[in-house]
Subunit: 218 residues, 8 copies
């Protein structure tokens, strides 16, 4: 288990992270962490490692692209002084290119995405104990699908930055692909993006496995 | 893994099982399974064993005692023809003795509880492939607390019936006790009964471990 | 223009037809026809052919499969005594196989679909002046996608029945394919099924062209 | 077709334009364009000319007169940098004279109307590729009706300005008159102003015919 | 004053009478009589003739035609045993012919109207002390307008029946015409039917003058 | 009739005047004047004197005392430039002394009341054509009742100021007393203050008689 | 203290008793007893005599007269098998005579009141351990007020029946009169009937004193 | 009775004090004091000592700790110029240590609690006639329970400060302990903190006994 007693673990991202979390705090009782993978990670950490007392904070905001993260990075990440930071961003950066193709101002191209994400990671790395980069994903099993192909490019950027900076890396697309061998995308997500509980469990499990969580710990 | 491909797994119980599930169906998309342990079990089964295609149905109803289960057993259990059945009942049977002590009609005593539960299990056993009995619990670490002591008696009944009938048995109280060594009850449940996400993860994990779920399965 | 003065044109189908129409009447003022293709067909007929006085009735109900149509056919179609009848059904028959694959009771297989639809068409044909059969569709441009492939089979059934019975036939999938050459599915529908206004215009236009509507009529 | 690939087409006006559009953006998914003629124009453009990728923006606001347009012209028109601009204003300028005749501050007289509209058109013309002026209208077939007569005067102003400035001109009153030969006003609008879907189709069709839209384009 | 101490005065009609009255009772405190002419008649009677103790009951229902009155006449009129009865019906009988012209089932023609109304009046006359017949009206000052012309025919029927049966007769159209000389219809009613407070005062005053109400009574 | 063509008549006061008027405007269509005496005065003026085109504005605010009127006098009265002004204030000034007797800050004593009202009347008189002062009232027929006695003192102040300044004066208490001879207070007002429609008619009629309104005008 | 361990105490009456109690049960947690005197009696009994375990049930229903009590007596009183019964009825019997004087069907006269109440008391007496009769009241200090006078007559009936039948008797009017010496009625009740918390405390205290409650019990 | 005629008694605290009081005023009619012990104290004072005219003000705010009280002390206490002040604070100071143990910023430790409370008391004492300090409490009868033990320490601080400063002191924990001998905590409070009506009566009675309230006063 890579997390240590009393550490603060902050998640930032878009609607996949947000999931109706309490705003602005992003922590507390009564579903303050929302109903997605962040809450599941927190629940399993507390259930299996109660002695660690990990403080989980959710700073996801629906609809965000990396451009929005930049705008609120100081307040929502740096000022929070987390010990661990997990970032999952990019789905909206790509999606807007495909669902509102004519509104070009809303698109975040691959270069801007890469540059912005790299900058955020680099300027934060020195202040945290650990950082986790998760790829964006698209619940489409056809690799030649246009939006899936674009999403894979953004995922590749995340991988590259994780390698350059020594962050933990989680390939959520790969985790989902494993399930998509058996299930049609519509089973996991109404719109191929916002997953069911099962889909959030895929993300949570991928995260937990990466940080050394032991399901069978007594 | 004790469940087989294509089986139907039905959960019945009280508010801990219910958790705002869709009624009357108790299955389907969009949170139809509620937001508690049933949904977590389903999510993890689907995430890790998508090839099994387990059909999970939630028939919990808030406030139910074993007396209510009897009334709706034919419709909500037998008519559903589940392959596997999981029962967790008894919290309200005990709780009413402690939160509305003067309204004696609402209390279900130990004898009635035992007799009713045993009857339901016996008459259902022949029609299912597997049955899981979960104890009721109380999130109080002091074993001498009056309500905790009563709850333990009801849990002992569940254990006895499981042994008599060869059902799988899950000691949810024991699972929670493990966590209560580290955390004060108020961290897990506002009222010592309705758990947070972490508490529901404790139950889901106890269930999954009992049925042979392998977290590290590729 | 194949419709004559004073005729009643009834649409039946699922959520694509329903679109929040007023229930049970399905006709009247103030958006009684819903906000989808039925309302657009009615609006364009009234705007361009006001002298015909076509009475449009919407009897779509969200979530319906051909199995549901059978149950309400007498009341919602035959008793209404329409002059023209338009049927678009089948999307949910297929979709349930892909979004809730484990709940097999909810699936309507190809044989049942064909047999049911053929029966409804045959028993209604004698009582109406004209009948229009529209294929179900799926907003996925990849023809090898599993659900698209199944949907195409259901569409082929519709075509076959139209040919057998001499109904007007509208290939909505083909109409959408034309647009999908230029636009990614997510532009037209959040979930590849429920279309935007543009998608409903595709259906309305396909319908109107088939019945001889002349956009440039003075 | 007068619109070119990738152009931005902005509509401004009153409640006829507004129709519950999303504010302030006036564009996006999920009914952001409202449910009136703007949405229908957009839907038909996207359905028939998907390759053009026209970006439609709706900046109508209910209750507006030309006086209100002046106040928000910079922000809602000029700052938006549209390629094409369509204006339909004047109904409330006239209506207030007839429904709240004693509150004279709310009336916009013919001179103020003409002067304001001309100024807006002239100062915007240089910055757009094309501009469309639509007359206000009143769904009353009796030309001698007092409010209809006044509305016709305002419509004449629009025509004059369109001629002076070389804008495309759409006579919505004339388009409705065609339909009013067959239908009583109450069929098209509860209050002789806010049209049904059919009425909005009349406007949308008049607009599309003027800009060279080809319904039968393959 | 034609009403006597302690008498019960019942109004029946459509939405003009209804005006959000309490249902089913149609009498009592706190706006039980709605906010239209019935309430104004009651208020003025109680304010000026408190010693008479007139009991006013409102049995109007929105959207009713004379066809609906027939269906509920026994329960809502005869069983109530009023001393005085006031009827105003016919607006919807006519209006449906003009706002939903294609749905012919909803129209009540002149003959059916006359026959039904005459029958109701005749069978009720023997049981009441007094009966008042009010014409339907249309807030359109152009007598050649199609719907106004039709409404005038229905009003003529009311007059004829009043004369035949010796009922008090109130020509609401004439009362409104007086005001329409000065005010455009839109000032009095959004849709030329449902009047503002001023319009309801026109009706209330016409009624009160007919029954001998003395505004200047001390 | 003391009002002239085109004049603006503004009412200011407390909840009796307010009656859910639209805020802040206090004029317009659709019940903007509320549902109390102001609306009834407006309705009767428009019904009987449509040719005068009187513009009625309602600036009542629930709960106001004369202290509140002072605070908003510039904005809500002087800036509105009314031709006629009608003031009814004082009920809350007295009521608070009787319903919340221990919260002395909320009471407005007789001296403050007199001084404030006189000042407002004097500074406004020069700017209006006519001014109407209405007494506050209390729907209690027992003149020795403590609150009735106090209210009568405040009413006497209003009378005195009206005489000093030559304003029209309306004794609403006297008007109600006439009715209270026949009806118990509870018939007119739930709380002896907020009147039923009948009670508001008493006030409206008293006002209209004072300004020379002729009910029998043709 | 006249109540014994484990007894059930049932209150029946009108809105003063009801006070938003949970229906139909009238007992349980979370404000099931409403927010009036019944809840205060229960709270003080449980706070001071927890060892008695008195089960309090509230069967008040707003608007009830003794006529309504008769209709539901079997179900809401006899079937409940209370040990103690407390009745407070009559306010609406009187009030309707004063607030809706023209609707005579709603009035319950003194004779009917006396006869009905006596019958209910007599037929119930044999089945309960104790019965408490509370007078209706009116928060008016002027004994010559018409409605107060009538209420006093109804109160006298209650007293007479209590004496005849040997029930405990509580003069709520007398209890309030004590307070009305110091406070104006409007301080205790908006409408002279529905009391504030203080007013409900007056009733609760009168009840508790009658049954031998000792505030200073340790 | 220690309170004198016309004095103002202000309560400050957390949710136990707040109980949905009206904000910001904290006084007035219609439940302005909330539905907890403050309202009960006020109700009993007014019912039994109406001649004193005590003005009760509630300034409790849910979730407050002593840290929050410091922030709003000037505005909510000193500026109010109460004659008597009652403080009950500390439950949240302790509770957060047990229900959100990982969010250490939300905990108020014993030293900070003592120092802050002492400061507030000392700086206010000179300006009031009397001050009452109430301990925080925890509805747990097991004295060895961790949170109960901590709460007792905070209660001891309150006692110490009361002794130092000569304030009246109320041991709410002791008052509850008396009841907890008979009743299980769940009967009094769902979460062992927010009491039922009975629990609030325990607090109100403890308060009233301390200030010399005489239940049997005539």
């Amino acid at each position: 288990m890579k997390l240590n007693k009393g550490q603060k673990l902050l998640f930032i991202g878009d609607s996949i992270t947000d999931c109706e979390r309490v705003k602005p705090a992003g922590e507390g009782k009564f579903g303050a962490l929302g109903n997605g993978y962040v809450s599941f990670v927190d629940g399993l950490l507390q259930a299996v490692y109660p002695e660690l007392g990990i403080r989980v904070v959710n700073k996801g905001i629906s609809g965000n692209t990396v451009r929005n993260l930049k705008d609120r990075w100081q307040e929502d990440v740096l000022d929070q002084k987390p010990d661990w930071l997990s970032i999952m961003i990019g789905i909206n950066d790509v999606w807007r290119q495909y669902d509102t193709p004519f509104i070009k101002d809303w698109h975040v191209g691959l270069d801007e995405y890469q540059e912005s994400l790299r900058k955020l990671v680099n300027e934060t790395k020195p202040f945290v104990n650990g950082m986790v980069l998760m790829t964006p994903y698209y619940l489409e099993s056809n690799e030649h699908d246009a939006m899936r192909r674009t999403m894979d490019q953004y995922g590749a950027v995340v991988k590259r930055i994780a390698e350059e900076t020594g962050c933990l890396f989680i390939d959520t697309q790969a985790a989902f692909n494993q399930v998509l061998k058996e299930l049609y995308p519509a089973t996991l997500a109404w719109d191929r993006v916002h997953p069911s509980t099962a889909g959030h469990m895929v993300i949570a499990r991928a995260f937990l496995r990466e940080i050394g969580f032991d399901w069978d710990k007594v």
